[in-house]
Symmetry: C2
Subunit: 419 residues, 2 copies
Amino acid sequence: MPLLVMKFGGTSVGDLARIANAAQKVKREVERGYDVIVIVSAMSGKTNELVGWVEETSHLYDAREYDAVVASGENVTAGLMALRLQELDVPARSWQGWQVPINTTSAHSAARFVSIPRENLDAKFTEGFKVAVVAGFQGVSPEGRITTLGRGGSDTTAVAFAAAFGAERCDIYTDVDGVYTTDPRISPKARKLDRIAYEEMLELASLGAKVLQTRSVELAMRYKVRLRVLSSFEDTDENSGTLVCGEEEIMESKVVSGVAYSRDEAKLTLMSVEDRPGIAAAIFGPLASAGVNVDMIVQNISEKDIEGRSMAVTDMTFSCPVNQVARAQKALTDASANGTITYDDLIVDTDVAKVSVVGIGMRSHAGVAAQMFSALSAENINIKVIGTSEIKISVLIDRKYMELAVQALHDAFGLDKAA
Amino acid sequence: MPLLVMKFGGTSVGDLARIANAAQKVKREVERGYDVIVIVSAMSGKTNELVGWVEETSHLYDAREYDAVVASGENVTAGLMALRLQELDVPARSWQGWQVPINTTSAHSAARFVSIPRENLDAKFTEGFKVAVVAGFQGVSPEGRITTLGRGGSDTTAVAFAAAFGAERCDIYTDVDGVYTTDPRISPKARKLDRIAYEEMLELASLGAKVLQTRSVELAMRYKVRLRVLSSFEDTDENSGTLVCGEEEIMESKVVSGVAYSRDEAKLTLMSVEDRPGIAAAIFGPLASAGVNVDMIVQNISEKDIEGRSMAVTDMTFSCPVNQVARAQKALTDASANGTITYDDLIVDTDVAKVSVVGIGMRSHAGVAAQMFSALSAENINIKVIGTSEIKISVLIDRKYMELAVQALHDAFGLDKAA
């Protein structure tokens, strides 16, 4: 019997009516001939309520107890979903993490999968059950305690089950109807993609198009799980949503698939840093220790005269989220004070945004960067920093031009037209 | 290390402040040198919310899924209580039913204990944990599914743990400060009892003084668990509350320990029932099938002339809750229609109440009934039906005299004065 994994997030099971709606979608797949593993999140708001109680009860809380409390939200949804399916005459039962079992590491609140043995679920499918409703986001440690995977872990649970059970596809039902070429709130010309490669999805997700958890896409890529994002609030069929898959399934790919952005960035430049081996480590080590998520890094070689002698110095520029600037400044000032690094000045620009174009087609197409820069130039947008990877080109620009840049690039690469 | 079981009901853990208050009481016992097993209910209102969701989702719900959903309420409290204890520097951890494990039958929503192996908890106590916080009301079936014991099961869980672990005492923290000689709302002279025998508590509980679940008292009696009822909202010490224990621990017992009542009773009399072997079964069989909880039964032998011959006939009187009268009438009418029983008339009195005096001292004291009847007679209260057991005498009277009767009996047996 072909098997499908269907995952419903918190808003998709936010109340009893929505659970009933999701159950209808599951029933439809059963009628199409699938055995189905349904992964459910907690009803929206429930996890936050539980987390709030834990944090109010204990400041430095025991993560094992946190997990035991917080995982209960998914257990409730799993039971209710199984009941609803039974009500629709679909043979279903709920499974909590320890019942499957979903074996994880003991890293509470950030556990990783160790194994998902198939025996228990397979036995029930053989008995005639058509649906296994599994509580997402949780597992059980070698010590027999309840673990959670961290926020958004339900997507990852779904992909892990799809891999373990050789599912034909893993459908992630959410509150958007797919992955778009860019944010429709910024560009009304944004178009839903029918397909997107894992690598592209990873770049888009980490850049702010938060449709899927990065970790779930990584896992899907590793195990070649075909992942589909679609809306739980619309009528959907086999062709709905966006399929995240391997490049080989994407026939006619454009050079650029999407334009991503990140609004609240800051640019920091250390002027006239002594240029010697190990200087980068001396700068970014303290920043990492301070919990600063450094994104783009640019270094220019320069020279200057110090006391009549020409010294090798460099200007070092990096970007980070704007709310981490104070932490970054303190880390650098401290490093300067204790003599780890020397620099003339620290220039901070908190008014920048990052705009990126992403596409696996770039690998085989030259000139994408030039095309990007000329599109921005045509709008008189000044580029402050450039960074590139194999399938992505990012620029930092003044924040006030961000929407304009996204729209211009969306047009320039023809993303409003189907491939 | 001496061990104590402490149980906190829903109102005692109704919010985070109350959980913190309960945790303080646990800490105090640890400081006195006890290892403690804490049994918790769901935060008040939570179980009803979950039950509501189940019932709305599925009319004839699968009891296995019902249990999986509903048990989650206790899991949340257990985790929060463990966290709060840790915050007070008390080494504690939470235990869900399957982790202990609390082995039960597969009778979902009405499961019974099979075994509570001590190994897992004992190992943790040996490691240095001082408190095991156990989710009450739940267990795990031989099939590995979550079971519940039915409403009020947390009291029973507490007693079962006290029996399994040989606890010195099982303290039930609730919203009253003990067991009273009668309902203080009816008699302001009602006095808290320091001690009460299991048998007396059973009679008082089933008669309406709903402080403890009957089932938990039965279990405590069977395993000789010393059970204490006390308030979670007052400062308490070793002498607080009421101890429910064996008679041998009660030195100076009064003849009567308490006066109980049941307000909404009805009295039904079948006139001139044919008096033959099997007639009682013919009457009460259909009533039981119809779900009528028959309480007191009185039969008088009489005779009457039918067509010139003297026939053996009897009047049969019984009582039941007033809201079951319609059901009882229908069952009797049906039995008459199909010829199972014959009677002249069915007289229904829905304006009666039951008042009972309870006390193990009755066993060795004659004249308690006479003393009771004369106290009622002094108030001109007419007795309609009398029923007796070894440690209880009950009467049905007009409902309007109920309060007066309770007060008169409370005075007559000197219950306002300490023994």
